[in-house]
């Protein structure tokens, strides 16, 4: 079973040389730490930056330079700044190659719910609805099972939706799965030490298992 860092590590392997990538808050942010050497990637922050770098050294924080999570950051050589309209313009026009974000629920037809829980204070969708509606490739980083022991990979989402038919791939603490165009979670890889049977039990939506399922390689 993977921890959060493990999920991030596995997702990092999906990033190809030359990709522009938007990372959501939470586990997706960790992905930046595991991008392989020699792979050139530009991180987009939807508040208006291409070429996001690491956190600044202590004492070098700049109040005018933050990411979409409102954290102080730095820029890398070759970065550019733009306004919010252009930022979502490049997202909508699919210039961003890959979006990685978290989810509360994903359905077997690719719907995602990640912004609102009825009865709880709603903070808002931020840029999530724009990202999921527009991105050409979205990977969800999430826990397979919630804290009540219930599957978050469902036949249909029960929470209010963020977007429909948009998720292509999911990486959880248990597995890597594709969502097929015709629907269904296709099991691609098992986390180290996790059985297909356990993944089956942990998946409420339709799980498709074909042939031998390899264990993930993380290094």
């Amino acid at each position: 079973m993977l921890d959060k860092e493990g999920i991030a590590k596995r997702i990092a392997k999906e990033i190809k040389d030359g990709y522009y990538v938007n990372l959501g808050i939470g586990i997706p942010t960790l992905v930046a730490n595991y991008i392989p050497e020699g792979i050139n990637v530009v991180l987009q922050s939807e508040n208006g930056l291409l070429g996001m770098g690491p956190f600044p050294f202590e004492g070098e924080e700049d109040a005018d330079l933050i990411n979409a999570g409102k954290q102080t950051i730095t820029t890398l050589p070759g970065s550019s700044i733009f306004d919010s309209a252009m930022s979502f313009g490049m997202i909508r026009s699919q210039k961003v190659d890959l979006t990685i974000l978290g989810a509360m629920e994903v359905s077997e037809n690719g719907d995602i719910a990640n912004w609102k829980i009825p009865g709880k204070m709603v903070k808002g969708m931020g840029g999530a609805m724009d990202l999921v509606a527009s991105a050409k490739n979205i990977i969800v980083a999430m826990q397979h099972i919630n804290k009540h022991g219930e599957s978050k990979l469902l036949p249909n989402c029960t929470l209010p939706l963020t977007g429909i038919k948009c998720i292509k791939k999911i990486v959880t603490e248990l597995a890597v799965l594709d969502i097929l165009p015709e629907g269904g979670f296709k099991l691609l890889e098992r986390a180290p030490g996790v059985t297909v049977e356990f993944i089956q039990q942990s998946t409420l939506g339709k799980l498709i298992v074909e042939g031998e399922i390899p264990e993930m390689k993380l290094d």
């Binding site: 933050i66 979502f88 724009d130 429909i164």
Partner: protein
């Protein structure tokens, strides 16, 4: 050249009255018009409809307006970090309309570009789409979203000149240029106000035609919401 200079925030907001719709630039606390917000707090303008991506924190930014119950309605994409906000929302004192961030930005830009409406896929199939027109282009569904105009747009820039031209610094640009275009009256506060001619015309982000009043702000706190740093090796 047309001179847009006013002496301070009080003069800039002189005709803002109860019940107006105001856009406020900034993302989180980054690039917010601190002086204008303080002037609104001091003047106790009430029943504001506030279009802003976020709602500030309890004791800074739009939070200061919320504390005095000056805001009737917030139109935002994310209103997370504010306990007083949550209390007013749950008690029904405050209306909130949540809009996807890109839709918010693009609706402002549409106003500045004279486009009455735009199409965006954001929110299709979700509660955001309720009651909205859906249209399919090339096999993909889009929502029709209307341009956003506001009685006043209050924005913050790094440098500005007497002709109203604005230059923003780093990610404090965010919503400021698109909101500057969408105000019936746009008020810009700047950290440094210079004479017309001192700025390179190629560097200007917001042309002065979109700005009605400009002043040099003072005592910028520029609070950081989340200081994240790495240690030196």
């Amino acid at each position: 050249m047309i001179n847009k200079v006013v002496s301070n925030a009080e003069e800039a907001i002189r005709d803002i009255v109860d019940g107006v719709t105001i856009m406020l630039g900034g993302f989180g606390l980054c690039g917010i018009p601190e002086n204008c917000i303080n002037a609104l707090v001091k003047k106790k303008i009430k029943n504001i409809t506030c279009i802003s991506n976020n709602a500030g924190v309890d004791d800074f930014g739009i939070g200061l307006l919320l504390k005095q119950h000056q805001v009737k309605k917030m139109i935002s994409s994310y209103v997370g970090e504010n306990a007083e906000f949550e209390r007013q929302l749950l008690s029904g004192e405050l209306e909130v309309e949540l809009i996807p961030q890109g839709t918010l930005a693009t609706r402002c830009m549409a106003a500045g570009y004279g486009m009455p409406a735009i199409f965006t896929p954001a929110g299709v199939g979700t509660e955001v789409a309720e009651g909205k027109e859906i249209r399919n282009f090339d096999g993909k569904d889009y929502l029709l979203e209307y341009a956003f105009n506001a009685d006043f747009a209050l924005v913050k820039a790094w440098k500005g000149d007497t002709a109203g031209n604005l230059i923003f610094r780093s990610t404090s640009r965010n919503f400021n240029p698109v909101m500057a275009m969408a105000g019936k009256i746009t008020i810009a506060e700047v950290e440094e106000l210079v004479e017309a001619g001192a700025l390179n015309p190629d560097h200007i982000h917001t042309p002065g035609i979109y700005v009605h009043r400009i002043f040099q702000g003072e005592n910028y706190e520029k609070r950081i919401e989340q200081v994240t740093v790495r240690k030196r090796d």
